[in-house]
Symmetry: C2
């Protein structure tokens, strides 16, 4: 019940143990097509370039930045937690110029500040922000942020590692250009894959680059040749076959539940947890309007020792909850209700364990 990886459903674990077949085997290629189609469903997009990157979410972030940012490009980076900071780091390493819009850790990204940055920097090409900040538990208004970026002629890059399948997310309706997520959060598959999706505008920027993408492994011009349609696929790298079995099964399960139902389940269970935590006198870090249902960041009661409580939950109840990161270390706990972990029995167990421990 930490910030991820979330619990993996037994069906998905079983899928992982299927025999490894060749990454160019027709049966595997058929499965790849299904994975792409189901990811489009999860992202609510018709983007042809929708697929999993063969590495964790951090590599998905890098795939977006490495392909879209060219040396000298000005990028407006919104920072309200750890992962916005990592975006800035990506921009710098790629030779881009980051214009930082800062908000408090635990707040949503301010639309007004972003608009001010866009007015002040008419030469900006990209706006990048985190939809659901796993480090703080705050959700930002992705629709409004993409709209404003678009209005000022920028493309956008959106981190949806923790939001995909857990919170409302509509890639096409909201005009998202480049988005990355992770397999191990609300999809409840195992870590190691990063689903991404790119709009036509994003593809136009990446195919009209003047400089080659520094990373061979993440160059989408090459990756597309492998994941693309058609009988003849260009060999690029050896896909993580078994991990893809797991992602495939998790997406089948998401279709069975329905993605909107999955969003609702995360919200309903969040309300249940909040009610119980309030009864224990535990408060949230984030304002009610900006709270992420799948990642509940709560203030550690003043009379409690952070590490002691977390160790005791682990030792006595086999429950793992997350620590705070950076400036929030020792100040908050991060309780994840993601994917298969988002269940009533888990909430009851945690509340009872907390009551016994505090």
């Amino acid at each position: 019940m930490g910030p991820g990886p979330s619990d993996v459903h037994p069906r998905i674990l079983s899928a992982m143990a299927r025999s490894t077949i060749g990454h160019l085997d027709p049966a595997f290629i058929g499965m790849m097509e299904e994975v792409k189609e189901m990811l489009k469903y999860a992202f609510k997009t018709e983007n042809e370039l929708t697929m999993p990157i063969s590495a964790p979410g951090s590599a998905g972030m890098e795939a977006c930045f490495a392909n879209l940012v060219e040396p000298g490009d000005k990028v407006i980076v919104c920072i309200n937690g750890v992962f916005g900071g990592r975006m800035k780091e990506n921009v710098h390493r790629l030779g881009g110029e980051a214009v930082v819009v800062e908000d408090d850790w635990g707040s949503a990204v301010s639309i007004d500040k972003v608009e001010r940055a866009l007015i002040d920097n008419p030469d900006a090409k990209i706006v990048a922000f985190v939809h659901a900040e796993t480090s703080t538990g705050a959700i930002s208004d992705a629709k409004a942020l993409c709209q404003i970026a678009n209005q000022y002629g920028c493309i956008n890059i959106v981190d949806a590692v923790t939001s995909l399948a857990g919170s409302e997310l509509r890639v096409d309706d909201w005009g998202i250009d480049a988005i990355y997520s992770g397999s191990q959060k609300c999809l409840s598959a195992m870590p190691g894959l990063s689903p991404v999706s790119f709009s036509d505008r994003a593809i136009e920027k990446l195919t009209s680059r003047k400089t080659p993408v520094t990373s061979w492994f993440l160059d989408l011009n090459l990756v597309m040749g492998y994941w693309g349609k058609g009988a003849k696929r260009a060999y690029h790298h050896t896909a993580p076959v078994n991990t893809l079995y797991g992602l495939h099964e998790s997406l089948v399960m998401l279709r069975e539940e329905g993605v909107e139902n999955s969003w609702n389940r995360h919200q309903q269970n969040h309300i249940l947890l909040r009610y119980g935590l309030n009864n224990l006198g535990i408060d949230y870090l984030v304002d009610e309007a900006d709270r992420l249902p799948q990642l509940n960041s709560v203030l550690i009661p003043q009379d409690q020792d952070d590490l002691e409580v977390r160790s005791s939950l682990m030792k006595n109840f086999n429950i793992d909850i997350g620590a705070g990161l950076g400036p929030l270390e020792g100040k908050i706990w991060r309780i994840g209700l993601m994917g298969y972990t988002s269940r009533k029995d888990n909430i009851e167990l945690l509340l009872s364990a907390l009551k016994n421990t505090l």
Copy 2:
């Protein structure tokens, strides 16, 4: 029985299906330490910086080049197949200058040509070559190549994707500085991880860089903080927990067999296959002295249709053998005897299937 992924042992598949735990869980961290120790055993090294990169072998290659090559660095790149060509591509993208030493596809890298290149380029900093070319089935003399690189003041980068655990490989004795491999070849784990190891000389070069590593995900200065010793690990990315369960199990099995015994098994089974292929009138592409036991590249008999034979083997016998790549497309088949696939019963099945098919 293609060029990989190889068959995965049922023990390893079962390990993959264990419950996913947190990547910062003490039990997981204990397992990481074991993986590191067993990789040192497999590589025959005492290098502290020995660990798996959380992505396929291509990302392992990129980790070596992205960390060790700075813009302007001259790198001698030996090309005798697909993967040498990919090394050159890496050097270019990173702003380095590649001096190419070319040998025929199917030949070993020529030590004389490398020495000539070192004499002609006294400002070269790195020599990079592929120990076992999976695209051609040729093995090169890694010991001699590292020695000559060292003699001229260069560090070396060695591709051991297909050689690790299949052919003699001694990182410390041979003076290898940076090496990467894959989980899905002679270790017979599932694809998705790339074991790497770096000598003190390599670490010195990467820690004294003047420019930051372009890739955040592959920056070893950061990755080391996560995989390093000590109670407090810096969170870097979410490790592919289940895939690491599989790698761990495959390394336990390698220790049980003994790495030298594993080299011998690959060689003995190669001899057995060669004998049977010769009886069918099938010849090898590579000279006997340079043949890779785990990847047998054989000339397609002139009266046979490449695709027809491979499809028939797949359809009638459930056997997958590899096609030729690049200039060898349509000219060779690549028969893999890697890891768990390297067994007498597989060889007998393939020989009997070929006899029926040709």
